[in-house]
């Protein structure tokens, strides 16, 4: 099994430790990730799509055209990239005029796109290989009480994403349970983390993540798992800022799904870059004997 790895911008250029965990996990599972030269920004569905649809379509289609259809197509570690790449596919295949317009732009850049490259979120690939994950389980995540944050673009718009359930999602919970951890329900599970609002109104964005963290902490969870780098930054980078603003004491570890899988696979935590997390998971990892 092999896929072309679409890294996007945030993970490789700001959170490379998340990329490291994903590469190690797929390597262990025997799923090959090919590095492809020449990708640009996906581009950001909460940015470029909002200001210039034609540029969004053309850059997205150009990226899709670089994947070799002979293998499994594109795998992405980022929900935003997945929404863009699946969204461009959707619009191009739904409306011949959009396809023509996009290819007219791409022609200037010497390329064309047929609309046929398949796109998967890494969470989807993990879920589709749940039995394989169970086979590689070395250290079950006993004691981990995980609040799963699906984020928005992993699920919606369901007509474009075509995966999981937009309001009763279950795939990430199932993966985490397969790792031996407990998943915890909480009131605001389906709410947006607020990251995209940051570009327009920082205060509002902080209010959204503050409410979400409050709901998670009240649920009794001892960590959060998520699958999108924008959500990751929103959850991990803002806890200290919220504490300063509101005199709270948030300090809950935020894990990328691939990091939890890596821990359960017995990959050395020191290779995973937890030192780059702002809310340090050290105490939790020590408590459950993942670190000395």
């Amino acid at each position: 099994m092999e896929y072309d790895l679409f890294l996007g911008c945030v993970i490789p250029a700001r959170l490379p430790f998340l990329e490291a965990s994903a590469r190690k996990v797929f390597d262990k599972m025997g799923i090959q990730l090919n590095d492809v030269d020449g990708f640009s920004c996906c581009p950001d569905p909460t940015g470029i799509e909002q200001i210039d649809q034609d540029t969004w379509l053309a850059l997205g289609a150009r990226n899709l055209s670089l994947s070799n259809n002979g293998n499994g197509g594109i795998i992405s570690l980022c929900s935003g990239c997945v929404e863009t790449l699946k969204g461009v596919n959707y619009h191009i295949n739904k409306d011949e005029k959009v396809k023509e317009k996009t290819n007219k732009i791409l022609k200037k850049a010497g390329t064309q796109y047929d609309g046929l490259t398949s796109v998967k979120h890494f969470g989807q690939v993990l879920y589709e290989n749940l039995e394989l994950i169970k086979k590689h389980l070395v250290n079950p995540l006993d004691g981990f009480k995980v609040a799963v944050h699906y984020g928005c673009h992993y699920l919606r718009p369901s007509e474009i994403i075509g995966w999981d359930d937009p309001f009763e999602p279950f795939t990430i919970d199932s993966i985490i349970q397969a790792l031996g951890a407990e998943t915890i329900e909480y009131e605001m599970k389906l709410e947006c983390c607020g990251n995209p609002v940051d570009k327009s109104d920082k205060e509002l964005s902080l209010l959204m993540i503050g409410n979400k963290l409050e709901s998670i902490i009240n649920s009794g969870a001892n960590c959060v798992a998520l699958v999108c780098p924008a959500c990751y930054q929103q959850f991990d980078f803002n806890q200290r800022e919220l504490n300063k603003l509101n005199e709270t004491d948030y300090d809950i570890p935020i894990f990328y799904l691939s990091e939890l899988v890596a821990l359960a696979f017995g990959i050395d935590p020191n290779e995973l870059g937890f030192k780059y997390h702002r809310a340090k998971p050290t105490a939790l990892l020590q408590e459950f004997n993942f670190l000395k």
């Binding site: 890294l7 945030v10 490789p12 250029a13 700001r14 490379p16 430790f17 990329e19 490291a20 590469r23 590095d35 030269d37 020449g38 990708f39 640009s40 920004c41 581009p43 950001d44 569905p45 909460t46 940015g47 470029i48 799509e49 909002q50 200001i51 210039d52 649809q53 034609d54 540029t55 053309a58 850059l59 150009r62 007219k104 732009i105 791409l106 200037k108 850049a109 010497g110 928005c152 673009h153 699920l155 919606r156 718009p157 369901s158 937009p166 309001f167 389906l190 709410e191 947006c192 607020g194 990251n195 995209p196 609002v197 570009k199 327009s200 109104d201 509002l204 209010l207 959204m208 780059y276």
Partner: protein, 165 residues
Amino acid sequence: MSLINFEFRNEILQYNASLSYCYQCSTCSSGCPVALITEGKYNPRKIIELALLGFEEELIEEQNPNVWLCSTCQKCLELCPQKVELTEIFSVIKNRCFERGKLPEAFVLQAQTIVNEGIAIPFSKSILSRREKMNLPEIKTAEMKELEPIFKETGIENKIKVGEK
């Protein structure tokens, strides 16, 4: 006094005919996280109403309610009983705002970086050394000469300059 701009309404309808299906039930606003947190000051139903009426001034110049506060969480579109594609319609409105330089600066800055570098976040020296320490491969992103014809053709280059003002 607000004037109905039929041309503006027709322009949105041309991009997304689902606008005309809205019967103003407000299911969108009841599920909207930003409406919740702003106590209805931001209100997706209202934006659709203004678009249906062709109230271009309110939506683009005054931005009241402010379409840029949409978090693009896609709940409204998913919940709508009439299958109005709200976030797609908001994109059309925001694209028009961009043409007139009426948008938060962060969007322009991101677009400038992408037009200049091909990616939204350029690789800093410290990240490159961190990547090396973690044994991560070198990433070869798109060459600008491959992207420039696209930016030229879509005209985003010139629109960014409008945003610079």
